[in-house]
Amino acid sequence: METRNFYILIASVAVAFTCFWLTLYAIITLDIDIFQDPDTVIIKGQAIDGELSISLSELKSDKYEKIESHTFDIKNSVGREYERIYSGVSLRSIFEVEDLISGNPSLLYFKFRGRDGYITEALPLSTVFNNLYNETIIAFADGNGHPLFEEGPLRSVIDQSVMPIGEVASQYSVQKLAIIEVF
């Protein structure tokens, strides 16, 4: 084997090893459960006793307040605003029906975690409780009622109008939603 090709081989193996171990490290460090059923979302955290797992079929039932084909105003970090239509379930109604929050919501925070390691920054829980039911949802269908495929099956969606100043809704619209952490 030519020396040049040998060096290329060594570099390729080194990069492949780095990618493999870094992926493993990220999965372990970020506590990602790659075997979690994608059709469920778990609500847990210091502000909640134990944890609550809600399946897609439960979300689609009449247990929680459904939001049908609601138009969300989303803003991204370059300032571009656009609209997206989703159907899903009001996050506020989940908290209320399950009676999950015992303390004062204005003193609590929450985060969304995706199955892919995406974790949002913390938002005040008052963002959910001080606004309308249809402004923070867990979406499971697009505007035409089709299941979310690439970005789902569950995703969080927040309307820009309820975001705290300086925050953009696109960063909190988490695809492949797995966990809602309240603390």
Binding site: T23, I27, L30, I34
Partner: protein, 201 residues
């Protein structure tokens, strides 16, 4: 002898024969065709699905991001002129913008930078004597494709994501550049030339 001189006087020496590297109509035509193809494919075909179904982490789709830049390496293979790389990427960016890309005008700038860095990568590889090798094309492709990953992650202000996701994302962007922009682009270029597509160099 006199007759021969008369014949020579009938011809004007053109820019092309004087070695001036002006772009030909064919260069611009290739740029437009490849730029439009790239713009349509980048805007409408979600190649990222090929990654999302098996790779668990965010940023993994960078492994396929090279398909956004492959058009620029193909045009370079057909024309050997670096400005055509930038023209192709600008045409592609303009089309993506007109298709309603969420990044708005920023997407044109991103395409321009990718093209400019790919051209820089090819220039560097030529200086190192690797201008026509697979290694040279691969590294130049990696250069061209790398820019957009950190750029998007930085303007997205994804500081809250774990550092390992950042590193993986950047590595994947470079790897994708090597394999898709560089090696696949070179292979496609070779097949195009073999199939009879006229080159302009």
């Amino acid at each position: 002898m006199e007759a021969k001189n008369n014949i020579q006087e009938e011809y004007k020496e053109t820019g092309f024969s004087r070695g001036i590297k002006k772009l030909t109509n064919l260069d611009l035509l290739y740029s437009a065709i490849l730029g439009i193809m790239g713009g349509i494919i980048s805007s409408l075909i979600p190649f990222s699905l090929l990654i999302k179904v098996w790779y668990p982490l965010t940023g993994g789709t960078q492994l396929l991001s090279g398909h956004h830049v492959i058009w620029a390496s193909i045009i370079y293979g057909l024309t050997k002129r670096k400005p055509t790389i930038v023209f192709t990427m600008l045409a592609k960016g303009l089309l993506e913008f007109m298709f309603g890309d969420l990044w708005g005008l920023v997407i044109i700038f991103v395409n321009f930078m990718e093209g400019a860095l790919l051209a820089l990568g090819f220039a560097l590889m030529e200086k190192l004597g690797e201008g026509e090798t697979k290694l040279g094309w691969g590294i130049a492709g990696g250069f061209g494709n790398f820019f957009q990953a950190p750029f998007f992650w930085i303007i997205n202000q994804r500081w809250y994501l774990h550092w390992s996701l950042w590193v993986l994302s950047f590595m994947f962007a470079f790897i994708s550049g090597i394999f898709i922009v560089g090696l696949l682009g070179r292979t496609v270029k070779n097949y195009l030339i073999k199939a009879g597509v006229p080159t302009t160099f």
